[in-house]
């Protein structure tokens, strides 16, 4: 049985997929994951998830976003050059990144 392994480096971080292990049950999967994915890098927590429990939907099933021009989302009317506008700046960053990935910029 295959268990997908997700690793969290520090408390509060997201658990990020880092590989998988073969194990007969959850207990052994956790033990094997600790050796294979938690021994060399700083690790706060690991998740093991049975592979067949992972729900997947892909680009064949769904038209995902991020493919069209969303210029209207740029924060043109705000002045982001102040401390409390962190979220605006972050949102702009995401838009810029999306454009880059689309090949527009």
């Amino acid at each position: 049985m295959i268990w997908e392994v997700f690793r969290q480096e520090k408390q509060g971080d997201y658990h990020t997929h880092c590989g998988n292990v073969h194990a007969p049950d959850r207990e052994m999967a956790k033990q094997f994951a600790a050796i294979q994915h938690g021994r060399r890098k700083p690790t706060n927590s690991l998740w093991v998830v049975p592979k067949e429990e992972v729900g997947e939907t892909d680009a064949d099933d769904v038209a995902f976003g991020g493919t069209t021009d969303k210029a209207y989302r740029w924060a043109t009317a705000y002045n982001p050059d102040v401390d409390h506008a962190e979220e605006v700046v972050e949102s702009e960053g995401q838009q810029a990144e999306a454009e880059k990935q689309r090949g527009d910029a």
Partner: protein
């Protein structure tokens, strides 16, 4: 007891000998077990179990080095301890030197379990050691040993669940249990291998000097009271089952329960000569006179 002894200069001759003997018990067990574990590399049943056992082997080598490093305070050097000692100068239990039958994973797993329960009990008894360096190292070793014990028990439980696994485990119990009992046999002093008269004195000094705060008998009782019911619950019978009545685990281990060679007194099984020959081969072949070190001091 708090750690008050900082260096061999704080010890009298008898205590120095006891300390040396204790450290050889500890270091030699870990070193030889690691040597055996590495035989499983690329041969364990799955990639995952392979990596887990290799990880344990690496841990045990590290622990051996921590104990040998303390022995260096008594004038030894690592290459002398590992590569230049005669076979009968080693003090490990025969449990760790026995060879594995080809592909017998149940043997590896059971040995791992029997050893790591003993290791856990032993570390308990060393945590408050009067010798500062010993007390200091227990913590680090402990965190890794917890994983070993969990790993071993998990495997034993799972193998015992199937018919073939249970049968192989029972064979391993019959074969290894007597050797496991040697974990708690007294060591001959470093200088007097084969001289049984000094054995008990050295062990007494180990406890009276506070290097370790439990006697061999106490540790054996603790070990039996864990191992016997655990295996019993899984349907595995030990030679001790007959001797245990009403949860009373304190009994004399007579010679007929022990194997001919007990390791601790310098007597070993033939398998030990072969193993030692093998891991010292390159050292001799290349005419080396020191041990290769990546780290200056083990941490």
């Amino acid at each position: 007891m708090s750690a008050t002894l900082e260096s061999p200069a704080d010890l009298d001759d008898e205590e120095r000998e006891a300390l040396e003997t204790l450290l050889k018990r500890l270091g030699d067990d870990e070193y030889v077990l690691a040597e055996r574990y590495t035989e499983w590399q690329v041969k364990a049943p799955t990639l995952e179990s392979d990596l887990a056992l290799a990880n344990n082997a690496q841990d045990e080598l590290g622990h051996a080095r921590l104990w040998y490093d303390v022995l260096e305070d008594l004038g030894y050097e690592e290459h002398e301890l590992v590569y230049e000692r005669e076979a009968d100068e080693w003090r490990h239990s025969t449990l760790v030197e026995r060879p594995f039958a080809e592909g017998d994973w149940a043997d590896a797993v059971l040995r791992h379990y029997l050893y790591d329960v003993a290791e856990d009990i032993r570390l308990d008894a060393l945590e408050g050691s009067s010798y500062a360096k010993i007390a200091d190292r227990v913590g680090k070793i402990r965190s890794e040993e917890e994983y070993h014990l969990e790993h071993a028990s998990n495997w034993v439980e799972r193998l015992a669940n199937g018919d073939e696994g249970a049968e192989r485990l029972q064979d391993a119990v019959d074969r290894l249990f007597p050797h496991a009992l040697t974990l708690f046999e007294p060591c001959a002093p470093a200088t007097g291998a084969g001289d049984a008269s000094g054995d008990e004195d050295v062990e007494e000094t180990i406890v009276s000097a506070g290097f370790r705060d439990a006697t061999l008998e106490e540790m054996r009782e603790g070990w039996l009271s864990t191992v016997v019911p655990f295996l019993d619950d899984l349907g595995l019978e030990t030679p001790a089952s007959e001797l245990v009545h009403f949860d009373e685990y304190e009994f004399d281990v007579t010679e007929d329960v022990l194997p001919d060679a007990v390791g601790r007194d310098g007597s070993h099984t033939d398998a030990w000569d072969d193993l030692r020959e093998e891991f010292t081969h390159t050292y001799r072949e290349l005419e080396r006179s020191e041990a290769t070190k990546i780290m200056d001091k083990p941490e």
